[in-house]
C-alpha cells in the first residue's frame, strides 16, 4: 500500500505533467478553433522543436531555457510555412475538406519523421547538461523536479499571455472575428489568409515552447512525438475544441487522472483512465468541457 506522501508525490507530478500536456495541446486547440483544422503532424512539430533545442545545445552550448525564444521563433515560421505551403491548399478543397486536412497532415507527419531519420539518424539523443535538468527541489517528502516545475509555470504564463493576446490585442480580435466568420472578415480589411498563417504560426510556436522545455529532461528521436500527440488530441477534445481555457483545464485533468490511474490500476493501464474520463465527459457534454464549436 502506498503512503500518503507517495500519493501526494504522484499527484503533484501528475499536476505538473498535466500543465505541460496543456501546453502541448493548446497550439492544436488554437488552430482548430481558428479554422477547424486538426493538425495530424502536431507530434512531429513537437519533435522538430525538441531537435532544434538539442541542436542549439550541442552546437552553440545554449541552455534549453535560453534557446526557448529561438526555438519558438523558428517554429512560428515553420508553422506559418506549413499553412501557406500545405494547409491552405487543403482548405481549398471544396469537398471532404476535413479528411483532406487530416490526411495531408498525416502525410506530412510521415514525411517529417522520414526526414528526421534521414538527416539526424534514428539514434536517441538527450541534452546531457542543462541548468534545469539536474535540479530537483525537495518540499518535505515531495520532490519537485526543476524542469517540470519551470515547465508548468511557463505553461501557466503562456496561457495567460495567450488569453491577453486573444482578448486585448487587435490580432486576437482578428482571430476571433475570423473564427466567427472567415469569409466576412475580408469586408473589414482582415486578410483571412494572413490570419490563418499567423494562427498556424502561433499554434506551432506554442508547441515549440513545449518542445524546448521537454528537451531539457526528455529523450529525443524521430518518433518521440507520437504519444504526446495522442494525449494532446484527447486533451483538446476533452477541454473543447477551440477553447484555450479548456485546453488548460483538460491538461491538468489528464495529468492527474493519468497519475492516479497508474496507482489504482496496473500502471500500463493508466491511459485507459484518461480515455474513460474523456468518454464519460462527452457523454454528458458532447462538446467537451468548455467547447463552443
Amino acid at each position: 500500500m502506498l503512503t500518503a506522501s507517495s500519493i501526494a508525490q504522484i499527484m503533484v507530478s501528475g499536476l505538473l505533467t498535466g500543465l505541460i500536456y496543456a501546453l502541448v495541446a493548446v497550439g492544436l486547440s488554437l488552430i482548430f478553433g481558428l479554422m477547424n483544422v486538426v493538425n495530424f503532424a502536431h507530434g512531429e512539430f513537437l519533435m522538430l522543436a525538441m531537435y532544434a533545442t538539442f541542436g542549439l545545445a550541442l552546437g552553440l552550448a545554449l541552455d534549453p531555457l535560453v534557446a526557448v525564444p529561438i526555438v519558438m521563433a523558428a517554429l512560428f515560421v515553420f508553422g506559418a510555412a506549413v499553412y501557406l505551403g500545405i494547409v491552405s491548399y487543403a482548405m481549398r478543397a471544396r469537398v471532404n475538406s476535413g479528411m483532406v486536412q487530416i490526411f495531408s497532415t498525416f502525410g506530412l507527419a510521415i514525411l517529417l519523421r522520414g526526414l528526421a531519420q534521414y538527416f539526424l539518424t534514428p539514434n536517441y539523443r538527450s541534452i546531457a547538461h542543462s541548468w534545469l535538468g539536474s535540479r530537483t527541489f525537495a518540499l518535505g517528502p515531495i520532490y519537485v523536479p526543476a524542469p517540470q516545475l519551470v515547465g508548468a509555470l511557463i505553461s501557466i504564463a503562456a496561457f495567460f499571455a495567450l488569453w491577453l493576446l486573444i482578448t486585448r490585442t487587435d490580432f486576437g480580435k482578428a482571430i476571433e472575428a475570423t473564427r466567427e466568420d472567415a469569409d466576412a472578415v475580408a469586408l473589414v480589411g482582415i486578410s483571412k489568409n494572413r490570419v490563418f498563417a499567423l494562427g498556424w504560426g502561433l499554434g506551432a510556436m506554442l508547441v515549440g515552447l513545449a518542445g524546448a522545455i521537454l528537451a531539457s529532461f526528455y529523450y529525443i528521436y524521430p518518433n518521440v512525438g507520437g504519444p504526446f500527440a495522442l494525449i494532446a488530441y484527447v486533451t483538446v477534445a476533452l477541454g473543447g475544441f477551440g477553447s484555450v481555457f479548456g485546453a488548460l483545464a483538460a491538461g491538468v485533468i489528464v495529468g492527474l487522472v493519468e497519475a492516479l490511474t497508474a496507482v489504482i490500476l496496473p500502471s500500463d493501464l493508466k491511459e485507459v483512465g484518461v480515455y474513460a474520463v474523456y468518454l464519460a465527459v462527452v457523454l454528458f457534454r458532447p462538446r467537451g468541457l468548455f467547447g463552443s464549436i
Binding site: L2, T3, Q9, I10, T121, Y124, S126, A128, N223, K270
Partner: protein, 416 residues
C-alpha cells in the same frame, strides 16, 4: 504454441517433395543471405546498428583476417570454391506480416539460402514459420523470447541465449552474492508491456519463487509513456534490495532521469540489457547509473585474453562509432556461425545447411563471445551460450560474473 513437430515435419516434407528437382549448379560465385531487421519506425536505430554488425561480419567472412574465428582466415567460403557472401537487407518495420512478406521476397526473388534477424520476437514467429515452409534455415540472431525454440521447427536456430537463460544468470549471481554474505532478499520488477517485458518478468518471477527471493513490487508499464513518475514513486516506496528493469532505451533513459528527479537511489540495479546496453542511454544518463549491473551476451574485456575480441570490436567500431554491445555482438556472431554452416554444407541447399547447423560444434574460444561453445540442441537452441553480468563503472561495462569470466569484483551496493 500447439504446433506439433510431427505435423510441421509432415508439412515441410510435403512441401519439399513438391519442389522441383534442383539442378546441382556449378559452384556459385555468390551466396545470398537474407537479413531482416527494423529499419524504420521506433526501433530504426537497432536496424542501423544491426547493419553495421552484419557488414563487419561480412568483412570477416569475405576477406582474409588473421583471427581465430570461423571463416576469418579465408576469403569467402572455401567449401564453395571461395564464393562470397552477399547480404540482402529487408525492413520488417516491426510487423509480423511484413516480416513474412519480406522473408518470402528474399527467398523467392533474391534466392537467399538462409535468413537471419529479426530483433522483434513477434516478427521472428512469422519469419521462422516462413523459413520452415520453404525449407531453409532461420538463424535468430537477437530474439530473446524463450517461446521461439518451442515452436517445434526444424529450421530454427539460435546461437545466443534467451530470456530464461539470461534471467537464470541474474539469479545465479544473486545466489553467489548471498553466499558471500550480501543481503539480497527483496526484488522490484519494472518491465514494459510487450513480449520482451512479459517474457523477462515471467522468467524473473519464476526464478524468484524457486530460489527464495521476495518480489515486493511488480510494475508493468506502458512502453514510451511520456511520464513514469507514478511508476517510479511506487518503486521508491517498495524500496527493494534490487531493482530489475526490463526496458528499451527510451524508457530506460526516462526511468533513470525520473529516479534522479524523485530522489530514488536504489541499492542495486540489475537490468535485462536492451536499453541498458545501448550507448545512447549511457551517453544520456551515465553519471546517474554508476554501478548499474546488466546482463549481457558480450564482454569487451575478454579482449585482454582473446585478441580476436578486440580486433573484431575495432572493425565494428570503425563502422559504427561505438563498441559492440549485447545486441550487435549477437547479430555479428550469429551471421558468422550461419555462414560457417553454409561453408561446411558445401551447398546452398536448405536441407544441407540445416544438417550442417545441426552438426555445429564450435568451441567458445573460437568466437568473440564468453560462451562455452556453439552447439544446437534438438530444438535449435544453443544451451551453452552463457550470459555474463556487466557492471557500469566509470564509463565502461566491466564483467563481474560468472567468476571465470569476471575481471573485477562487483561493487555492491551500486553507490559504494
Amino acid at each position: 504454441m500447439n504446433v506439433t513437430r510431427r505435423s510441421v515435419l509432415l508439412g515441410s516434407a510435403a512441401v519439399m517433395a513438391t519442389m522441383a528437382t534442383r539442378v546441382r549448379a556449378a559452384q556459385p560465385k555468390e551466396v545470398a543471405i537474407g537479413v531482416l531487421y527494423p529499419f524504420s519506425g521506433p526501433s530504426a536505430q537497432v536496424g542501423v546498428d544491426a547493419k553495421f554488425a552484419s557488414e563487419t561480419a561480412l568483412d570477416i567472412i569475405n576477406n582474409r583476417h588473421d583471427l581465430d574465428l570461423p571463416l576469418a582466415k579465408s576469403a569467402g567460403l572455401p567449401g564453395l570454391g571461395g564464393a562470397k557472401v552477399r547480404l540482402v537487407y529487408a525492413d520488417h518495420q516491426g510487423d509480423p506480416q511484413k516480416g513474412r512478406a519480406e522473408a518470402e521476397r528474399l527467398i523467392t526473388q533474391e534466392k537467399v539460402c538462409a535468413l537471419i534477424g529479426t530483433y522483434y520476437s513477434s516478427v521472428a514467429v512469422t519469419v521462422s514459420q516462413t523459413a520452415e515452409r520453404y525449407g531453409l534455415p532461420y538463424m535468430s540472431a537477437d530474439n530473446s523470447s524463450p517461446s521461439l525454440q518451442r515452436q517445434g521447427l526444424k529450421f530454427f536456430f539460435r546461437a545466443a541465449a534467451h530470456d530464461e537463460m539470461f534471467s537464470k544468470g541474474m539469479f545465479d549471481f544473486y545466489d553467489w552474492m548471498r553466499k558471500k554474505g550480501t543481503k539480497i532478499d527483496t526484488l522490484a520488477l519494472f518491465h514494459e508491456d510487450t513480449i520482451f517485458g512479459t517474457d523477462s518478468s515471467n522468467a524473473q518471477l519464476k526464478f524468484a519463487s524457486e530460489r527464495g527471493y521476495k518480489v515486493v513490487a511488480d510494475i508493468k508499464y506502458h512502453a514510451n509513456s511520456p511520464s513514469l513518475t507514478a511508476e517510479v514513486t511506487q518503486l521508491k516506496a517498495a524500496n527493494a534490495d534490487v531493482l530489475m528493469p526490463s526496458s528499451y532505451t527510451t524508457d530506460g533513459i526516462l526511468l533513470v532521469k525520473t529516479m534522479a528527479e524523485l530522489g530514488y537511489k536504489p541499492k542495486a540495479i540489475v537490468a535485462q540489457a536492451a536499453g541498458f546496453s545501448d550507448k545512447a542511454l549511457f551517453d544520456a544518463v551515465g553519471p546517474q547509473i554508476q554501478g548499474l549491473i546488466t546482463r549481457g551476451s558480450f564482454s569487451l574485456d575478454l579482449a585482454a585474453k582473446r585478441p580476436s575480441v578486440g580486433a573484431v570490436n575495432a572493425l565494428f567500431k570503425a563502422r559504427a562509432g561505438k563498441d559492440l554491445n549485447d545486441n550487435t555482438s549477437r547479430e555479428l556472431m550469429a551471421l558468422i556461425i550461419l555462414a560457417d554452416a553454409i561453408d561446411r554444407a558445401k551447398s546452398t541447399d536448405g536441407e544441407a545447411i540445416r544438417k550442417a547447423l545441426v552438426a555445429t560444434d564450435i568451441p567458445g574460444t573460437r568466437t568473440i563471445m564468453p560462451w562455452k561453445r556453439v552447439k544446437f540442441d534438438a530444438q535449435g537452441q544453443n544451451e551453452d551460450a552463457d550470459p555474463v553480468l556487466l557492471q557500469y563503472v566509470k564509463d565502461k561495462l566491466v564483467t563481474i560474473f560468472p567468476p571465470q569470466a569476471a575481471i573485477a569484483a562487483p561493487i555492491w551496493p551500486m553507490g559504494a
